[in-house]
Symmetry: C2
Subunit: 226 residues, 2 copies
Amino acid sequence: MFVRTTDPLLRPNSLRALGMSSGSDPIVRLNEITYKKGKEIYGEKEPAEYVYQVKTGAVRSYKLLSDGRRQIGAFHLAGDIFGLENGTTHRFTTEAVVDTTVLLIKRQSLETVAESDAMVAKNLLGMTTTNLQHAEDHMLLLGRKTSLERVAAFLIEMDKRLTAAGVLALPMSRRDIADYLGLTLETVSRAISHLHELGVLGFVGNTQRQIILLDRHQLASLDLQP
Amino acid sequence: MFVRTTDPLLRPNSLRALGMSSGSDPIVRLNEITYKKGKEIYGEKEPAEYVYQVKTGAVRSYKLLSDGRRQIGAFHLAGDIFGLENGTTHRFTTEAVVDTTVLLIKRQSLETVAESDAMVAKNLLGMTTTNLQHAEDHMLLLGRKTSLERVAAFLIEMDKRLTAAGVLALPMSRRDIADYLGLTLETVSRAISHLHELGVLGFVGNTQRQIILLDRHQLASLDLQP
DNA sequence: CGTACGGTTGACTAGCCTCAACCAGAGTGG
DNA sequence: CCACTCTGGTTGAGGCTAGTCAACCGTACG
């Protein structure tokens, strides 16, 4: 799914790559902003002025119902691009999960480049398709998987995306995970405890924020796929 | 969301429009195929050879888990384009819900055109974004809405897309609706009965496949949005 | 005419949610 | 340095929503 490079900011689908013309001249300048934990980056229905790439930290993007129920559509980790809208307004609210630094680029400048540069247009389409694919898989999870399968799928996804040396240091809280998986935080907690009892995972020290995956194969078997 | 024209095949995002160059010369030929009710159009993971547009009828696209649980990601009705993949393989299985005629176009020919024609590339991106937007909204429904809210949202969506003279003639079965909404067919049936009791909808004759929406305003209030 | 299919409804069950208590670690201020 | 509070996490008891299983009904169809 993602190409692994030593530096996530330099992989093919980076903002830098997006802003390159086919002739590989950097066309746009990248600015940098840091958001404190919990701070909003942009709100749903706000005009989409910028496109972002996570440099360090993590971002959640979500929708709210009027009574406060929340659905997180995606977590954006180091290297991920977000805020790429086609229309002129954002369709999610995004917040920093932890202290987070992002690169940003004016949406407008991207669009004008895409007009004339097929390479850039292709990159835009590719990124949108990646998002679509993730959303499609997530619909299956939300519509048809059990709580244990959801949590297993989540751990596998995060393992692929942010593991360092076999330890998952999850930046997000149980509540965030729950709102991503369409569950309650208690159910998430119970599922993780259950996986612990099964010997699929362990914890670093006493704190349970860091998880060691002990048996990836068994974990994968708990998440039904095709 | 959708532009209304008298003929759904002629609205802006049609296959015909897709196949036009900026100079509006028709570049590609459109073929036509008819599928009997229940017949598969293409399978998940099959190579994506064609892009389709529904001429008459309805199509469901879905994913399966290995134990048979099914999640329908979308219904495609007259005028809708589907099977537009960026990679080379399909990510859903699609079947005709009823007897259905589709137009088709070789994916390859579209791609080559998009290479050189910014207009076509823009259309492709726009359609992918429309699909993404639908998937994002559906995640919220699947993750956070109650059964009654889901069914109400479904009826509202179908009302927007296929109502003729205040009557919803649903082409799909209760099972299809259930697999679209992440419910069971019994729960869908009960929700519809409940809406009937509430006086929000009625039926044409004895058959309950055709639904009259009596109170769209009340229906909308049952589906929490922002 | 009999059968198959799709839909409805009822009785019961189960999985997840709600409410609540409790606990550990990180800050904070006296 | 210690008490205090706050936050995030776990766990238990009980309730509710949606799922399961099953019977029944009407229409369509061979």
